[in-house]
């Protein structure tokens, strides 16, 4: 079933368009990876889905309902969570408070969800009283993902989850992403680390210069010579 559909979206800052008629489809339970060179508009795509940028053209629908141009605090209520690439935790607040803020819009008792997030990231349970600003890069990334997961989102948008992490931590974060996906959360992942991102993707999209270049299953893109030569480093 198609969950999130981005159709022919054109978006930009002031005069210059960053994305031109980009189309991405996410089916339920899927990991969709978006790869491409720097400046291809990958992060812009996520910001547009989440309402931080307003598209000039095109439609974004969640379960066939329009969410185009809604404010972020409305979109999050529709069941989409977003983890930005940088400054993605409340660094002066404790881990527990960060997760509580993730559940800000929930009116019900979310203590069970909190336990589930702690089960997913046990290290956060041990340190729940510590300030997020004092954590290592990998742990911060877990706090950021945990915050986004507090809402039980239908779709999770991850912007460069491996950026800035030491190589030994990168595989750990991708492992966690697989675990999160296994709980049924669909996601769009934007990544520089194209090989890893495509390995776990059900479907992958290649963007360049703000346009769709290729899309196929993750495996097929990994096997594609052109993708290998241009984006996977040989």
């Amino acid at each position: 079933m198609i969950l999130l559909k981005i159709e022919d979206v054109t978006v930009g800052y002031t005069e210059i368009d960053i994305l031109h008629n980009v189309t991405v489809t996410v089916r339920s339970g899927e990991i969709v990876s978006v790869i491409g060179p720097n400046g291809a508009g990958k992060s812009t795509l996520l910001k547009t889905v989440f309402g931080i940028l307003k598209p000039r053209n095109g439609n974004i629908t969640l379960k066939e309902k329009h969410i185009t141009g809604l404010r972020p605090d409305r979109i999050v209520r529709k069941g989409i969570s977003y983890v930005p690439q940088v400054e993605n935790v409340f660094s002066s607040m404790t881990i527990q408070e960060n997760l509580e803020m993730g559940a800000f819009i929930r009116r019900d008792d979310y203590s069970q969800r909190l336990e589930e997030v702690f089960d997913l990231f046990p290290v956060l349970r041990e340190r729940k009283k510590q300030k997020a600003g004092h954590l290592s890069g990998g742990q911060r990334q877990m706090v950021a993902m945990g915050r986004a997961l507090m809402l039980d989102p239908q779709v999770l948008l991850l912007d460069e989850p491996s950026a800035g992490l030491a190589p030994v931590l990168v595989s750990g974060i991708f492992e966690k992403i697989r675990e999160v996906n296994a709980t049924g959360v669909a996601m769009i992942i934007v990544e520089q680390n194209a090989k890893e991102a495509l390995k776990m993707a059900h479907h992958g999209y290649v963007l360049a210069m703000g346009r769709n270049v290729l899309d196929d299953t993750g495996e097929a893109l990994l096997a594609n010579d052109e993708v290998g030569r241009l984006y996977l480093g040989g």
């Binding site: 404010r71 972020p72 605090d73 930005p84 400054e87 607040m93 509580e100």
Partner: protein, 302 residues
């Protein structure tokens, strides 16, 4: 000397109430509100209007509580005035600062607009009440109590300190333990992430102005009870407020509390060596020294 320190703590508590609001507004909206001192003046005069006007008209008795210089009229006027200035602060945000935010105006635009706001409030007060010194209870003898160490303290001042700590305690509980308070800290920490988490940051901004305005009003009234009322009182508080805010690291409300006490004590103790007219200069010198030596303040990260 001990007596000057005690007076400094009283003055410091009043400065802290203003500085906390200034710091909150700076932390969340990110601009230096030059009209914050006028919120203190407005609070003091609104209370005066209630005590000598409205409450005398509706017939609330004018007697005072024992050795204190105020009575029931002030008890009712105090929260009323806090609420009134909270609405005044929110009003200015809605008609002025919100529009500047929508236009992505720079910090200078905000600073100049708030300077203009401060003139407007001050001039309205001068037009209505004139620029004389006023008292909530003119002609009242205000005897001091003798406490150990040869300190003379007026009963009013003990109540003032009690109210300062009560208000700061309430703010602490609000920020640490309530959902809205935590959302306020989250917004001050990272506004974009707060928005992403579904926090309606415009609502947080309204709360911030309301709380900042109410605390400033409380500070103004307490100064009016302790000393006197004057149309320029808030304007003269502006430098101590900024000094306290910067000393305690901008945006950090606990820092503003500590900074307020430090500035208040420094100002009062300085009168042992300098003419009292130099009190403001003391605050100013401290502010310049912090900006030169440790611009991030005592609680800021290096």
């Amino acid at each position: 000397m001990a007596e000057l320190i005690v007076y400094g703590i009283v003055l410091g508590g009043i400065i802290a109430l203003g500085a906390i609001g200034l710091s909150l507004v700076y932390g969340i909206i990110g601009f230096a509100n030059f009209a914050h001192g006028e919120f203190m003046t407005a609070g003091a005069y609104l209370a005066l209007f209630m005590v000598t006007g409205v409450f005398s008209w509706i017939g609330i008795p004018d007697n005072t509580f024992g050795i204190l210089s105020f009575g029931w009229r002030m008890v009712f006027a105090f929260p009323f005035s806090m609420a009134g200035v909270a609405f005044l602060a929110i009003f200015f945000d809605r008609v002025l600062y919100r529009k500047l935010r929508a236009k992505n105006s720079g910090p200078v635009m905000f600073a100049m607009s708030s300077l203009g706001t401060s003139f407007i409030i001050r001039m309205i007060i001068i037009i209505v009440w004139g620029s004389d010194y006023l008292f909530y209870r003119p002609g009242l003898m205000r005897p001091a109590l003798e406490v150990p160490l040869g300190i003379k303290i007026r009963p009013d001042q003990i109540v003032i300190l009690f109210i300062v700590f009560l208000l700061v305690g309430l703010l602490h509980v609000f920020l640490q333990d309530t959902k809205m308070g935590k959302a306020m800290r989250a917004t001050a920490d990272n506004m974009e992430l707060a928005l992403i988490s579904g926090i309606n940051t415009e609502r947080i901004i309204i709360w911030t102005w309301g709380i900042g305005g109410a605390l400033a009003a409380a500070g103004g009234i307490l100064y009016g009870i302790d000393v006197q009322l004057h149309a320029r009182m808030g304007w003269h508080f502006l430098i101590p407020l900024f000094a306290a805010t910067i000393l305690g690291s901008i945006g950090n409300i606990y820092g503003a509390l500590v900074g307020g006490f430090a500035i208040g004590i420094a100002q009062q103790v300085s009168t042992a060596f300098l003419l009292p007219t130099y009190k403001l200069a003391v605050a100013f010198v401290i502010m310049i020294l912090i900006l030169l030596i440790r611009p991030q303040g005592i609680f800021g990260k290096g």
